[in-house]
């Protein structure tokens, strides 16, 4: 209880490590890793305790208080621990701990070792904060700080061009989604006056917001999720994000941050339920992205890029699950995927650590040299392909079942096709990297098994990739499904839905909940399992036939599907399109603005200035010739007169006196004449 009320301590622990590492960077040295790992492990232990406490308590616990007030508007900030958050806490801390430990070996001797661990700590803290946030504002803050960490970590080796470009691309692309999300938050805020997620959900369920606004708001929120979870059309950043160190790819770009978009949809699921069209959009984009990314993954030749496209594809799966109303299915896949995809990335790191390259055509036959890596990779790969009884099977099956039962045949077959492709490209990857003859002698001889600090986390995650699905399986009575039960996750919605009966939002919500519950024991669902398994095994078979036994020649396949191959190889030319449509015009526009400012506006200002100077020069000329001319004319006239008159001034007193007396005489004469002559 007390832990659940003081849950802030979980995200604060890694934050402390970040602060300490930032301030005592040099003094800490290699000990930064120990510090970071210790704090994350601390968070992990606390998360386990919180999970247990929550199971015992049986109801969500909120904590927090007033953050900011605007007179009438009061904004609170706080944390909520519910079943979804508790599970996510576990996922994040587990993967983060694994990555922290793994990085001790992987990043050993790096130039910016401390910075790496510091940023990792900040990231973990932000992700935990996001999971616990009970309002959109705090969620957004954590969301963006994660983006910052992602940026810093992708650009960890910024001396090289690729990470430099990739980091910026990642931040900018996700920022596009973030802006949409912010607008969505403002829209909902303008309707409800609160950022609190539960309150907003209640407002939706209570019918206080019109259906149109709810739909637009939900879609805008989903815009953020598209950016963060690398859904089409904002998926372009994720493959490039592989420029970062591999542990980062495992933590941020496979298990946690990219799943934040899915988490956002799950967290605000009540809003989406109030807007069936938005939910359908989520499902469509998810389903399309899943297939779309899977097709690209089949032709990539960089191990990490294959996994990256696979991640995009799987995130699409989760969106599909959520979109068709399978709240539990989507979030459950998020959990299992976090484990096996992190595992796969870490094995890729192990391979690159050993072989020095991730180019699949240079690898081969590593199974003999790297036993642990090989076996853990196989576990992760099979889990991803959806082979029972591994974790991926249970969650994937749940999504397919939901899609089928809720009546989305197109999406269902797209998902099945994706499952087939997934199995195919994973087989291809396994064959190229671990089986067959070594393709590059030098690389092969150089290869060796990674140190303990790296294989340890691999084994741990491998175990999780096996067992993580069990709590939701019939073997354990679908315990997790009940735990994640929608009603408990969003307790306000059920009561709110009852209160606002008749409103469209509430009806949608109730209907969707009905679907969710129906899916667990729906009739007709029985054929889903065989179809899914069949697709997966078919994928493995064909993959093995092409890359394992080589009964089907790869070259002839390429020749047969050359246009398709080129299209896929170039990732549907989306990067090029964006470059031509958005990036270059933006830069061009900026240059134009710069020129405009410099030439036109400043030109006008300087023009006004020089016009003033010119006018004043003209005025000066006028002044000199005309006005001054007149003045000078008067003056010279005066002078000329003076020149004449000066002769009268002899300087002799007597001559003046003569003048005076002559004048007096004349005056006298005139006076007398006036007096007497008339």
């Amino acid at each position: 209880m007390t832990l659940l009320e003081n849950i802030w301590i979980v995200p604060v622990l890694p934050l402390v490590s970040w602060v300490l590492i930032t301030f005592f960077n040099r003094r800490l040295g290699e000990r930064a890793a120990t510090l970071g790992t210790a704090t994350v492990l601390g968070s992990f232990v606390l998360s386990v305790a919180a999970f247990v406490a929550l199971v015992r308590h049986g109801a969500p616990v909120s904590s927090g208080g007033l953050w900011l007030s605007f007179g009438s508007v009061e904004l609170s900030m706080g944390f909520t621990v519910d079943s979804l958050a508790a599970i996510m806490l576990l996922v994040v801390t587990v993967v983060s701990s694994a990555v922290h430990i793994y990085s001790m070996g992987y990043m050993h001797g790096d130039r910016r070792y401390q910075r790496f661990y510091g940023t990792l700590g900040l990231f973990t803290s932000a992700m935990l904060l996001l999971v616990l946030a009970d309002n959109f504002l705090l969620l957004l803050i954590a969301w963006e700080i994660m983006g910052l960490c992602s940026y810093l970590l992708i650009g960890h080796w910024f001396e090289e061009a690729w990470p430099r470009m990739a980091s910026m691309k990642a931040f900018m692309t996700t920022r596009v989604g973030d802006v949409a999300m912010m607008i969505g938050i403002w829209l909902l805020f303008s309707q409800t006056g609160t950022f609190n997620i539960v309150e907003t959900t209640q407002a939706v369920a209570g019918g206080q917001i019109s259906l149109a606004v709810t739909t637009v708001g939900a879609l805008l929120l989903f815009g953020g999720a598209i950016g963060k979870s690398a859904q089409f059309p904002l998926h372009v950043w994720l493959p490039d994000a592989m420029a970062g160190p591999t542990p980062v790819s495992a933590l941020i770009h496979a298990a946690t941050m990219v799943a934040a978009g899915v988490y956002l949809v799950a967290r605000s699921y009540g809003i989406f339920l109030g807007a069936p069209d938005a939910l359908l959009t989520v499902a469509t984009i998810g389903g399309f992205t899943a297939l779309f990314a899977a097709t690209i993954a089949t032709v990539q030749t960089d191990m990490k890029k294959i996994l990256a496209y696979s991640t995009i594809s799987q995130l699409g799966y989760m969106m599909l699950g959520l979109g068709v109303g399978g709240f539990v299915a989507g979030t459950f896949h998020l959990v299992t995927h976090a484990f096996f995809k992190a595992l796969l990335f870490l094995t890729a790191g192990s391979v690159s650590h050993a072989a020095g390259t991730l180019e699949v055509h240079k690898l081969g036959g590593l199974a003999k040299k790297m036993k642990v890596t090989f076996w853990t990779f196989m576990v992760g790969g099979l889990a991803l392909a959806g082979i029972p009884p591994l974790a991926g099977f249970w969650s994937k099956d749940e999504i397919l079942l939901e899609t089928f039962v809720t009546g989305h045949p197109v999406l269902f077959w797209m998902a099945i096709l994706t499952a087939f492709l997934t199995a195919y490209y994973m087989t291809r990857l396994a064959c190229l990297v671990f089986f067959g003859p070594p393709r590059d002698k030098h690389v092969y001889e150089h290869a060796h098994e990674s140190p303990r600090s790296m294989t340890g986390p691999l084994v741990a995650l491998g175990v999780l990739a096996v067992v993580a699905g069990l709590p939701a399986s019939p073997l354990m009575g679908k315990w997790l499904v009940k735990f994640l039960d929608f009603g408990q996750t969003l307790p306000g919605l059920m009561t709110g839905g009852g209160a606002g009966a008749g409103a469209t939002g509430a009806e949608g919500a109730v209907a969707a909940v009905g679907h969710t519950l129906a899916a667990t024991g729906a009739p007709g669902g029985g054929i889903v399992l065989p179809i899914a398994l069949g697709a997966a095994f078919l994928g493995i078979l064909i993959g093995y036939a092409v890359y394992g036994t080589r009964q089907i020649r790869r070259e002839s396949l390429i020749r047969a599907f050359r246009p398709v191959y080129l299209l896929l190889k170039n990732k549907y030319y989306i990067d090029e399109i964006y470059l031509a449509v958005f990036v270059r015009p933006a830069v061009r526009l900026a240059e134009l603005c710069g020129l405009f400012d410099n030439k036109v506006i400043d030109g006008a200002v300087n023009g006004v200035g020089s016009a003033t100077v010119a006018v004043s020069a003209a005025a000066g000329e006028f002044d000199n010739t005309v006005v001054d001319g007149a003045v000078n004319g008067v003056a010279s006239g005066t002078m000329a007169t003076g020149q004449r008159l000066r002769r009268a001034h002899t300087g002799l007193v007597q001559s003046y006196m003569v003048a005076i007396y002559a004048g007096a005489g004349v005056s006298l004469a005139v006076l007398l004449w006036f007096l007497f002559a008339r």
């Binding site: 003076g642 008159l645 000066r646 002769r647 009268a648 001034h649 002899t650 300087g651 002799l652 007193v653 007597q654 006196m657 003569v658 007396y661």
Partner: protein, 102 residues
Amino acid sequence: MINPSYAVILGVLLFSVGLYGALRSTNAVRILMCIELMLNAVNLVFVAFSRLRPEAMIAGQVFAIFIMAVAAAEAAVGLAIILQIVRQRGVVYMDKINLLKG
């Protein structure tokens, strides 16, 4: 009782002598003296007319006394100025002092 007109004629004569001297001479002191002469000639005429016209009371006499006082002051200032000019320029002849020549 002398006929006042004699006094007037004497005054005119004295004035003419003074005027001639003032215009003709170049020595500043002499000019000053001539001006004094002219002033006193006028005084004489004033007194004579005063006697000729008793209805004007003694206005002529009073004017004469005024002029004497003013003349004394004028003489003092004029002499002082001349003294300064002599000191500065070393000459007392007015035709040598032509600073005001245009």
